[in-house]
Symmetry: C2
Subunit: 274 residues, 2 copies
Amino acid sequence: MSRRTIFFVSDQTGVTAETLGHSLLTQFDGEDFNQVTLPFIDTVDKADAAVRQINAVAQDEDTRPIIFSTIVQDDLRERFLPASGLLLDFFETFLNPLERELHVKSNHTIGKAHGLGDARQYDQRIEATNFALDNDDGARIRDYEKADIILIGVSRSGKTPTCLYLALSYGVFAANYPLSEDEFESGTLPSVLEKYRKKLYGLTIGANRLQQIRKERRPLGRYASMQQVSYEIRSAEALFRRYQVSYIDTTESSIEEIASTILNSTGVERRNRP
Amino acid sequence: MSRRTIFFVSDQTGVTAETLGHSLLTQFDGEDFNQVTLPFIDTVDKADAAVRQINAVAQDEDTRPIIFSTIVQDDLRERFLPASGLLLDFFETFLNPLERELHVKSNHTIGKAHGLGDARQYDQRIEATNFALDNDDGARIRDYEKADIILIGVSRSGKTPTCLYLALSYGVFAANYPLSEDEFESGTLPSVLEKYRKKLYGLTIGANRLQQIRKERRPLGRYASMQQVSYEIRSAEALFRRYQVSYIDTTESSIEEIASTILNSTGVERRNRP
């Protein structure tokens, strides 16, 4: 099977082209793709240089490249029409039906998505990221009033990456608190968490997976032993049930899936969209 | 002007639908959109419930909703055809041309993008996130051998969110080191950084913006004074020039723009695509 080169072409960061292209390509399992992002193509000269790069690849390889484009300016977009490749143009395809529906012409201007855009909304993402860092791992508990969500679970169940993702992508204020011996032995939540019971969301994880993750961090000792890992998971899940805290098993889930499930089930508002 | 409801419908997380829709909607400045994500629509029953929700909104509001769909299974997708709204169907539109080009049928299966997918690649994202946290703010300098990039800059120039974004989105190992009095006074980089000079990338920021950000953290004292802020920025930029470290001004840039610029200019490989 021959290798196919994929170009993500954008007059901006390329994040949208990558996300959309990647979603489509995952539907073609087993194909071999070489992926190249060409961001900030915001002048005719840069567009022509990009087209030369694409054409050079087309000549070198058996198959022509596939080009995912989110270039929005008409004069730049047109430069790609003669490129040697299959051009899939996201804006070209969907802007016209949207313009008809909304009865307005779109701006056709560069640098809207993933730019600073609404500065207030942007500052909230950064603030939410700082909040996640400050309130990671039970580090600070006096800020829970400000939290949208407080994730609880055993060590290495996925709390920190989920909080950071919720902050960076959605501007959601997510704290997390690690359940530990105190809670397992008493079978009760600390009063600081009881007070914010409505904000709690639990993460659990399969014992084998947790053991594998913990072993990478600390291979020796009780921390990664199967006995300890199983005990912690059992105790945590008993707490979730006792306090009627909704929870999700992260074993087979990506961060995106965990985040999306939590937002969907709690109804917490997204302050930003990816 | 009437408010328009936008639905992001997905048999999975909804991240792709949100990204697509958001990119397009930012082209229609000044319109008032109410955005609703309906993820995990993976059964006919859930699809029918989603359609009822859309139709109810269509009846309540003056204008019909717009539906961005990334539902991939044909039998689920079909349920949305009679919905009262403008249906913009991502997979329907782009899978056919891709199938023709690649001479294969796509899987048409749920849950590919933003799922666990390639487990090794996924673990790398988590590992990269842990690396960013462990190597934040100069906390640990013995890991620089493993870093793809080491960001340097004054306090609050955007190093931490950029490192976390590079890790979560791209699986890139990014450390960061805060420049401080030691470096400003001596005009030299610490030897630990000199050794990894090729991995360094600088962040700078406008004085007014930095003052504003610092004031929110620590309103009083020298830290947020204009004199101190200007002095630090001047000194940092002098260091970047002296050591020929590429750098970017983050004042008017989003995290996505900063990350994309750094990857583009250093050629560091993306281990994952958003």
